[in-house]
Symmetry: C2
Subunit: 412 residues, 2 copies
């Protein structure tokens, strides 16, 4: 029943964020251009910019440009050095930690194995140590740090800042990690699941920078996703939207741990690719891998399959292309449901097959999406590479501090 109204203070904060976002996304922009892009009056823009300059977040660029009418316009830019944020990616196997400037540019990155005990206290202590180390490595004083953004395996209980029994951390039942990490570091912590964080990183510093609607496929340990719809991160009614890895692409396929059948994750994960190659080899498929398989089946792993495919082996190529076809089917389904402008594929899990996946997905959206005669949706590879989730963690803080969020315009 609740649908919130809004009021003047909320509108002021929202408009300030709208202006800041214009400056953040542009490579230099004038007050008048901001007014044109946002529909705000030049007076309103000037007032907001004055406050942002006073706060040190925005600076006037020395070089003024001259517009068509011959009038000089002062160029505004984000003062990237006005603050720093720290991102942590918590993967059950590895912790990554980055410090970035206000434009989301990494200044230093560190990685360390996750403590083998996977005990929450040990993990938090290791995270706090990494934060110390990364700040020292980048020579960043603590008082410049706006906060830590933690990208964690989901599901997350946002309200309580808890990690709730992720698949690979089954004994983490309701761990209040946000509070624990904040106490261990003395810094405010923003928590989100890794794929949402990666999508926010994509919006802040990657392929989604100026795109109103995009879907982000995150290939990590599993396959997750994020959705930006109408310029806003869309989270869904229970904060569980964009579970792209659990769309069924083979309704008669294998049962997934999630309860569904033939999920994208069950046919595209590294383990599934190996199993499929071994199945085809067992069935006597011709391949440069056949002999190795007979001698030692376990030696036919992802690296071996990739190498064989790179040499043009038809069996290995067929296995990888089948995975790419499944990804393409899921991409088409997501586009037919969400009608986004862009699909981004990213995460460390697609290393080595990224171009194959992008090619198949591009081909599929150009030929199989319902609205393709109106416009063809773009498919892009994330430029953030294996750092998507950790940069996304850092972007969580930037996003919650600076992005115009309708929820804050309307919440009460």
């Amino acid at each position: 029943m609740r649908q919130a109204g809004t009021n003047l203070p909320k509108v002021g904060r929202y408009n300030q964020a709208v202006v800041l976002e214009q400056i953040q996304r542009a490579d230099g922009i004038s007050r008048l251009e901001i007014a044109e892009h946002t529909g705000l009056t030049p007076q309103a823009v000037s007032g907001i910019v004055r406050r942002l300059i006073d706060e040190g977040i925005v600076r006037e660029d020395g070089a003024s440009r001259v517009n068509a009418a011959g009038k000089p316009r002062v160029t505004l830019r984000i003062n990237a050095d006005a603050g720093r944020t720290v991102g942590i990616h918590f993967d059950p196997a590895e912790l990554a930690c980055v410090v970035v400037d206000l434009l989301g540019r990494p200044l230093a990155t560190l990685r360390a194995p996750t403590p083998a005990s996977l005990d929450p206290d040990d993990v938090v202590a290791a995270m706090a140590g990494l934060v110390e180390d990364v700040l020292r490595a980048a020579d960043v004083p603590r008082e410049l740090v706006l906060g830590i953004g933690l990208a964690s395996p989901g599901p997350i209980d946002q309200e309580r800042g808890m990690v709730v029994s992720p698949p690979k951390l089954a004994h983490w039942t309701r761990v209040p990690i946000k509070q624990m990490l904040s106490e261990a570091t003395g810094l405010p912590v923003t928590l989100d699941n890794d794929s949402t964080a990666a999508a926010i990183g994509e919006r802040w510093a990657g392929a989604g920078r100026s795109v109103a609607n995009f879907a982000y496929f995150f290939f990590g340990t599993g396959i997750g996703g994020g959705l930006v719809l109408n310029q806003q991160v869309y989270r869904g009614g229970s904060f569980n939207a964009a579970e792209f890895g659990h769309m069924s692409v083979q309704p008669d396929g294998l049962e997934c741990y999630c309860g569904n059948r033939g999920c994208l994750e069950t046919v595209v994960s590294p383990a599934a690719v190996v199993a499929e190659a071994q199945r085809r080899l067992s069935a006597g498929g011709a391949s440069v891998l056949a002999e190795r398989f007979r001698a030692d089946p376990a030696s036919v792993d992802n690296a071996a399959i990739r190498d064989a495919a790179a040499q043009g082996d038809p069996l290995a190529t067929g296995v990888l292309e089948q995975a790419a076809r499944h990804v393409a089917t899921a991409v088409v389904n997501v586009v037919n449901v969400t009608d986004v402008d862009l699909v981004v594929l990213g995460g460390h899990g697609i290393r080595h097959v990224e171009q194959l996946y992008v090619d198949f997905a591009q081909q599929a959206v150009a030929t199989r999406v319902m609205s393709r005669h109106i416009r063809v949706v773009e498919v892009a590879l994330s430029p953030l590479g294996a750092d998507a989730a950790v940069v996304g963690g850092a972007a969580l803080v930037l996003h919650s501090t600076y992005s115009p969020q309708l929820s804050s315009l309307l919440e009460h």
Copy 2:
């Protein structure tokens, strides 16, 4: 790059719509309750309500309720008789026309075959005739009519008010139907595709009345859909979101006219159900339909299959259950992507199988959706029955006139 700011006049209009929506959705509500639900101040609510009463849209109910503190509160209701809207559903086979009050309640409904020529001029003339007739039948003076909402097969070019080559109207290349119908009737026309209109009808007068996020599966000639996300109709980057009928549920299945393979529509449409039954009968499946099939294959139609299933025939039951399973798979995929609170199944195309589809979809979301341990999504049958699209047409006018739309808060 564009992300709009907002300002005071836009905020005023938006807040008025928020208040009106609270009154519309409640079965009697007080000013103070509106303030509590919306976060607006009691003063702001009182000012808005005064204007709405002056305009005649809202009335004070004679009976005042007494709250816990013993203070009487005046109950506000929509003045349902303050206006009327007309809905038209344009189906290639049939035109339907309804007149409703401000609460979306039908006062009269008429149907007529669509002119066989399918010529735009003939169709518009037939629509205009139906509008005359339905207003006469309900004794509604024209000056009370706020407008006509036309639910048409898509795709639609919203900006130009055109129908753009729908599958079953291939020669309708860019017909400016909005303007044609407006000229023929002298009334303003709001145009949308039938499944979006049906979803808006569901939000205004059906199962989606107080639900923040829902997906509407529209079973008509084909299968379409509508999405309401964060209280707003979500249309997508090219106005083509929610093409649920073209999600692939059988990636190795038959090619669909849309270019995709194994689309939900290809395996669940009435023609697909008949084809599957005939395939199973050809293969010698045991069934009460076997003899009839041998004598006259064409006599095994949808009605025959339904009758056989109702008698417990295993072949007919299997065919219908297979279709229900495909619908359930698509529902699970949509919920995993959008994380809606509710899925509504509706439209004239599920008559006779509605309970089977709802049962299978309910079972699937309770056991196969990723977030089911956090909350189980509800699956409901539309209460609007075969009138979903035509009531939706009428609701288009109510929606564009009265609903709080973020787009109007932010557009410039």
